[in-house]
């Protein structure tokens, strides 16, 4: 009977119910998509950086492991100092530039040093960078953006000549000569990071120790198991960002459910009086209201997951290189956040309903 009462009440005001469900759905999808986007971006970036094939990465002081977050240039002349470290076989400076229109990181590289560090590209079509306006794209970018070798491609207000399509997994999806990117980014003789390859993998620890001694304050990171470093807790600010978004979404859910249940209680004042006249206890009335709120939250949550999947599909259609991971853990987490917010939002209206005077409630117009 309680279930029937709750369902009938939910269906009795369809507009109110739809607005509530939409709000909870948006709340859940914001959580799922924000976490999915950041996790996806991190995982994708980490995998590609691991795929470069270097042993160590050097970044400026306080730089993020998530290199998409900062280009933070440093003098390219540092290369000479790195090369002098024992067991270092080769060093490749890279300048990073974020391409906002494609949500993509572009690597400015020196073809020779990058080849030496990474073992070179596997070419599907064309050849390596030779001229200042040359550009290489990976096969994923070529397929999703319909780019082919030989065509002109405009990037950063600059016309590049696509000279090659390579196997994906070498750090970025787009590569241009570092000098050209320095010119575009007004970062002459600067690099965002250095990839370092050791003579033998077992010498990585020793090289890292020496680098830390020589470049105090700089970030020296091993690229082996780099993926494990790319967690929200290891990235300064990211955890705070995710938490803020979750808090914001939870606030929206809380406020909407609060408003919805508050107006519902006001509207149903007389009905609450009737329930009291029938002998319904405070617990019974609280159960009816909280069950209704929980029903709205769970149904809205399920709609939110559906909305997340839909928005993910739309985002991937618009930006094919994006990676958005919708994980079961965060799907359940978002549902729980919505449920907790909804029950909290319904708490005050429930209390209000329980303490209503039955005679006044029955006289309510």
């Amino acid at each position: 009977m309680m279930r029937e009462l709750v369902l009938r009440n939910v269906m009795h005001r369809p507009v109110r119910t739809v607005v509530c469900l939409l709000a909870v759905a948006v709340e859940v999808s914001v959580v799922v998509l924000v976490v999915g986007l950041t996790t996806g971006l991190m995982t994708d970036t980490a995998k590609r950086i691991e795929g470069v094939g270097a042993d160590v990465m050097l970044q400026p002081p306080s730089a993020s492991a998530f290199i998409a977050f900062s280009s933070a240039p440093m003098p390219i002349k540092l290369r000479e100092k790195i090369v002098q470290i024992p067991h270092v076989a080769s060093v490749a400076p890279v300048l990073l530039q974020f391409n906002a229109s494609g949500l993509e990181i572009v690597y400015g590289i020196e073809p020779e040093s990058f080849r030496a560090v990474s073992g070179g590209f596997v070419f599907h079509k064309g050849h390596d960078l030779e001229q200042p306006d040359d550009m290489i794209v990976d096969d994923v970018y070529a397929a999703t953006h319909h780019v082919r070798a030989g065509q002109t491609y405009r990037l950063f207000e600059h016309d590049f000549h696509v000279v090659g399509v390579v196997e994906h997994g070498k750090g970025a999806r787009i590569f241009v000569p570092i000098e050209t990117l320095q010119e575009i980014a007004a970062a002459h003789d600067k690099a965002s990071l250095f990839f370092v390859r050791c003579n033998r993998p077992e010498e990585t620890e020793a090289v890292m120790e020496e680098m830390k001694n020589r470049f105090r304050g700089y970030e020296v990171r091993p690229l082996k198991e780099y993926l494990s470093l790319m967690t929200a807790t290891d990235l300064p600010g990211l955890r705070a960002f995710i938490n803020s978004m979750i808090a914001l979404a939870a606030c929206v859910g809380f406020l909407v459910i609060f408003l919805c249940m508050y107006t519902t209680i006001m509207e149903r004042t007389r009905q609450i009086g009737v329930l009291k006249s029938l002998g319904a206890s405070d617990g019974y009335i609280a159960q009816a209201i909280l069950s209704e709120s929980a029903t709205l939250c769970v149904t809205g949550g399920v709609c939110g997951i559906g909305l997340s999947v839909l928005l993910r599909a739309l985002a991937l259609a618009k930006w094919p290189n994006l990676t958005i991971l919708i994980t079961p853990e965060w799907t359940a987490g978002a549902m729980l956040i919505a449920l907790a917010g909804g029950l909290l939002g319904a708490a005050y209206p429930t209390w209000l309903a329980c303490r209503k005077d039955p005679v006044e409630a029955l006289a309510f117009e």
Partner: protein
């Protein structure tokens, strides 16, 4: 709290014959110098000013009086919806004035049924749901046999799947009566049950109340300002200015 059971009334199923009040029987409802004073800021408004009266088991008492004489307040206090300011109210041996809110709620659940002027059905539920809800709140679950007997007696069998908005006033009030008696309350309190009905439906509802009293022995206290409605009761009590004016007919 355990509610007192001074004289366990047998179930109304099977239907019993006529029950006439017997003078020696312990009153089912008894008020002693009952006062109810409402406070609005610094102003005190006495709605009941020492009401003393009794209702015996099986009686159908009509309480009459002009608007504002305290009829509805009396009904609210004896039904446990409002707390008395002074005096005592005994319902089936239970002193309401000594009870907490929760205890009065429990008493209402098990011993009192209400019928209101404006029906007060839940609009989201159909007739069946409104009646079954009372059974659910009562805590004994859905009793299909009792449900069938009550709905058949009140002529609701064909209207059970209609919502209040799809029913006439008379039908809604019959659903409200069914809801009130479905748990076999010791006493049925009706507050102007025909106040929102036309003459035809008023007669129908009053006949049903009389039938409930006559055939099932249901004790009824009905508030009304309509002498024709009051005539359906087997005793009429008059109220004026918050007190019972015994035996004095309305002018």
């Amino acid at each position: 709290m355990t509610l007192a059971q001074p004289e366990g009334r047998p179930s109304i199923i099977p239907i019993r014959g006529v029950q006439h009040p017997v003078p020696q029987v312990e009153p089912l409802l008894k008020t002693e110098l009952l006062w109810k004073v409402y406070r609005t800021g610094q102003v005190e408004v006495p709605a009941l000013q020492g009401v003393t009266f009794e209702v015996l088991p099986g009686e159908f008492v009509a309480v009459m009086g002009p608007s504002g004489c305290g009829k509805s307040t009396l009904l609210h206090v004896i039904g446990g919806l409002a707390q008395a300011t002074r005096g005592r109210v005994l319902v089936d041996g239970n002193d309401l004035t000594a009870m907490t809110d929760a205890e009065r709620t429990k008493l209402r659940r098990h011993k009192v049924g209400f019928v209101f002027q404006r029906f007060n059905l839940l609009p989201a539920l159909d007739a069946r749901g409104n009646i079954a809800l009372a059974q659910h709140i009562h805590g004994n679950g859905f009793d299909p046999h009792r449900f069938e007997v009550v709905t058949r007696m009140l002529g609701l069998t064909e209207r059970l799947h209609h919502k209040p908005s799809e029913m006439s006033g008379g039908e809604q009030q019959r659903v409200a009566i069914a809801r009130a008696i479905i748990n076999e309350p010791k006493i049925l309190l009706a507050d102007e049950p025909t106040g929102s009905l036309d003459t035809k439906n008023s007669t129908l509802v009053l006949e049903m109340l009389r039938q409930l009293n006559r055939d099932l022995g249901q004790t009824i206290v009905m508030i009304t300002h309509n002498p024709e409605a009051a005539a359906y009761g087997n005793r009429i009590v008059h109220m004026r200015d918050g007190v019972i004016v015994d035996g004095a007919p309305e002018e």
